[in-house]
């Protein structure tokens, strides 16, 4: 299943975790586990979205993003 996931990612584009789950005929929880695994193996990278440091960010006043969310991006081969 991991290689199918990588195949989908290598085709590019923006994916929601729920889309990936549907494509792999499995649950979002399992997709997240696989993404974390791929992240440990160096195939994908977790994206540090701004929201993680909102409390200390000087721009927090004018920024529209306040919800923590997880995102990953494919590491270049």
């Amino acid at each position: 299943m991991l290689e199918r996931l990588l195949e989908i990612l290598r085709a590019g584009g923006t994916h929601r975790v729920s889309d990936l789950a549907r494509a792999l005929d499995t649950t979002p929880a399992l997709v997240e586990m696989m993404l974390e695994d791929l992240s440990r193996a160096g195939y994908v990278k977790p994206v540090a979205t701004c929201t993680e440091a909102c409390a200390s960010c000087p721009l927090a006043d004018s920024c529209i993003s306040t919800q923590p969310g997880k995102a990953w991006t494919l590491n270049p081969d």
């Binding site: 991991l2 306040t66 969310g69």
Partner: protein, 677 residues
């Protein structure tokens, strides 16, 4: 009814029999401790694993006349060699060979829990799955069928809720029968990905005969393929050098085998979950999914987004405009009052206060209601969870046009303020891609720009303001998309990037959070108005009054008229041109400047603007203003993030050109159409 584990003194063990050794395994937070404490009560001993700092808990209990020794293994997510806890757990099972291993599994997060089970099954000790937290799972609408899971796993599964003591007797009976060998045991092990099956067998053959006790040969072979450092070290020492060289060569040729091993486990987990778990789509998850079918739809999602934008402006005009009117009257009255008070004072002082300060900064303050509505709407949409969908849907559009997800998504922050958008491009690794995305960031209409449009549109267009402002913003987004596509085509040929995002669940708005956000941002704006905008207003006023005492002959007018020919191409006279330039400091400044230039302290600026300029000129001005050079803070961020003055200047130049061309196009085409009509 629950069976209490009986203290040893009541029922002595059968003489000659050693206690049955049971190991308790599981991830953190699955209820392992609850189970341990329930079984052992006070008969437990807490110490350390020999030579380590990790806590070791051991206890004993009696059941049906037999005595049991219970060891609580450290909570771990898997059994790699990456942490001390994991090594301790697996070494215990391998060396001490417990009679039974009870794998405590959280029914509400079955996928995660099963990963450890996947690693436990190949070890040489029979496993029983204690399917704990069934009550929590039920609350979350997750239905698991233990018998189906048992059949799929091939090992006994006991449903439980340790906190409520449910399932204990059944667990103890199952443990007893398993320890006595009375239960059938045929675990379905995870298989390695088929294309690696042969390699696994080869390695197994090559290490045969050299695997030290008590390690099972197949397990060692699997771990070698996985790249486990401890097992690798052990086999390197145990194998004769030529044999090790062989094995090492094979391993090197399959250095990504770890993915194949993990993949096998995930397939296995997927099969188990698919068989035994049903999640009825109720509650928050169900609602989110149903809403998302529309909000993330490639067509309807965009329609909804455009409508949300339209509603934003509608709200601003219906609620904000009357409030704005009152504020304007208030400011006007203040100006009159001040002028009256300073009747005897020098003209310049009176002028400074009424025209400079009140006319300029005061005009900007009157648009606080508009800003508050914008802040409120954005905070609401963000809190409810819609913003993530808006980003996702707009990203879909950009993707269609050729702009990659990673390039666009940081830009979405630009709708609040362009500065975080520019900082957000840090997630893009390629420098080229980053630079180009930074160039696009100022094209995203920020709150300040939208507020200026919202202020001026009703002044010029009356009832048509809603339509005009809505179309204007949609057009600027379109220009962003087109510019991005062109830039992308020129620079990103063939490059692919994938972006994976998780959309949060929708939830009811938290009014306190929203209120706090509005308050903070409004305060921040008022501070800005009181400092930067005030200062610029005073400077503009000064430049507009010296040397002659009237606007037409002032320094500012001279500079303005000198630049006027360029502005005229887009239909703008010197005052609009000057206002445009002052927006470099802060977008809101254009309003302040117009306020000063028109000496709008006492009468409303809106009215005076409407009287002076035709709708066409107004439209052209709004177009140029929206696409113009960004504010100094944004330009500063560009300079900082690109570490280059050249790129900063290029960005400024690019926007100058785009905005003027757009303004010219609107004005010239409009004039031509008007002539024909």
């Amino acid at each position: 009814m629950s069976v209490r584990a009986v203290p040893e003194t009541v029922a002595p063990p059968v003489v000659g029999e050693r206690p049955i050794l049971v190991a308790l395994a599981g991830q953190p937070n699955v209820g392992k401790s609850t189970l341990f404490n329930f079984l052992t009560g006070l008969h437990q001993h807490v110490g350390n694993w020999p030579g380590k700092t990790v806590e070791r808990k051991e206890g004993h209990f009696t059941f049906n006349g037999a005595s049991y020794r219970l060891v609580d293994l450290p909570g771990t997510y898997s059994l790699t060699a990456n942490s001390l806890e994991e090594l301790i757990a697996r070494e215990f099972i391998l060396r001490e060979r417990p009679d039974v291993v009870v794998a405590v599994v959280d029914a509400a997060t079955l996928e995660r829990s099963l990963y450890l089970v996947a690693e436990l099954l190949p070890l040489p000790a029979p496993v029983i799955v204690a399917l704990n937290m069934m009550d929590v799972a039920r609350q979350e609408g997750i239905q698991i069928e233990p018998e189906v899971l048992q059949a799929a796993l091939g090992v006994p599964v006991v449903p439980m809720s340790a906190t409520h003591g449910v399932g204990m007797p059944e667990l103890l009976e199952t443990v007893e029968r398993m320890a006595r060998g009375e239960l059938p045991y045929a675990p379905r092990l995870p298989q390695i990905r088929p294309d690696h099956q042969e390699v696994l067998e080869t390695i197994g053959e090559r290490i045969a005969g050299y695997v030290p006790e008590p390690y099972p040969r197949e397990w060692v072979a699997l771990k070698l393929l996985e790249g486990d450092p401890e097992v690798t070290r052990m086999m390197k020492e145990a194998l004769p050098p030529e044999r090790w060289a062989e094995v090492h060569t094979v391993l090197r040729a399959y250095d990504d085998a770890q993915v194949a091993v993990a993949s096998g486990r995930y397939e296995w987990i997927g099969r188990m979950v698919r068989a035994a778990v049903t999640r009825p789509r109720i509650g928050q998850i169900g609602l989110t999914e149903r809403l998302d079918r529309w909000t993330t739809h490639p067509v309807w999602g965009l329609v909804i987004l455009a409508s949300v934008l339209g509603m934003l402006f509608w709200l601003t005009y219906t609620v904000g405009a009357p409030l704005q009117g009152w504020l304007e009257n208030g400011v006007g009255a203040l100006a009159e009052g001040v002028r009256g008070l300073l009747a005897g004072a020098p003209a310049w002082l009176s002028g400074l206060l009424t025209d400079g300060v009140i006319g300029g900064a005061g005009a900007v303050l009157t648009f606080l209601p508009i800003l508050v509505i914008f802040f409120a709407a954005m905070a609401f949409l963000e809190d409810v969870g819609y913003m993530a969908r808006a980003a996702y849907v707009m990203d879909g559009l950009m993707h269609l046009i050729g702009l990659h997800g990673k390039s666009f998504l940081p830009l979405f922050l630009g709708f609040g303020c362009n500065v975080p958008a520019i900082l957000g491009t840090r997630v893009i690794e390629s420098r080229r891609a980053r630079l180009l995305t930074i160039l696009l960031a100022p094209l995203v209409p920020c709150t300040a720009r939208m507020a200026v449009v919202a202020f001026l549109a009703p002044a010029f267009f009356g009832n048509a303001a809603l339509l005009v402002s809505w179309v204007l913003i949609l057009t600027s987004i379109l220009i962003l998309a087109l510019t991005g596509a062109v830039v992308n085509r020129l620079m990103f040929r063939g490059q692919r990037s994938a972006f994976i995002m998780e959309l949060p669940l929708y939830h009811l708005p938290n009014w306190r959070t929203i209120g706090l956000s509005i308050w903070q941002r409004s305060l921040s704006f008022v501070r800005k108005a009181g400092t930067v905008i005030l200062a610029v207003s005073v400077v503009i006023w000064a430049l507009s009054i010296f040397p002659g005492g009237n606007v037409e002959g002032s320094y500012l007018a001279r500079v303005g008229r000198w630049l006027e020919p360029v502005g005229r191409l887009a239909g703008l006279d010197w005052r609009l041109t000057v206002a445009l330039l002052s927006s470099f400091i802060a977008k809101e400044n254009s309003i302040a400047t117009l306020g000063v230039l028109f000496r709008a302290g006492e009468e409303g600026l809106a009215g005076m603007l409407a009287a002076t300029y035709s709708p066409l000129v107004a439209l052209a001005y709004l177009v140029v203003q929206t696409l113009f050079i960004p504010c100094a803070a944004t330009v500063g961020a560009i300079r900082q993030e690109t570490a280059s003055w050249r790129w900063m200047l290029f960005s400024v130049g690019l926007l100058l050109v785009i905005s003027l061309l757009a303004g010219m196009a609107v004005f010239q085409v409009g004039a031509w159409v008007a002539k024909g009509v």
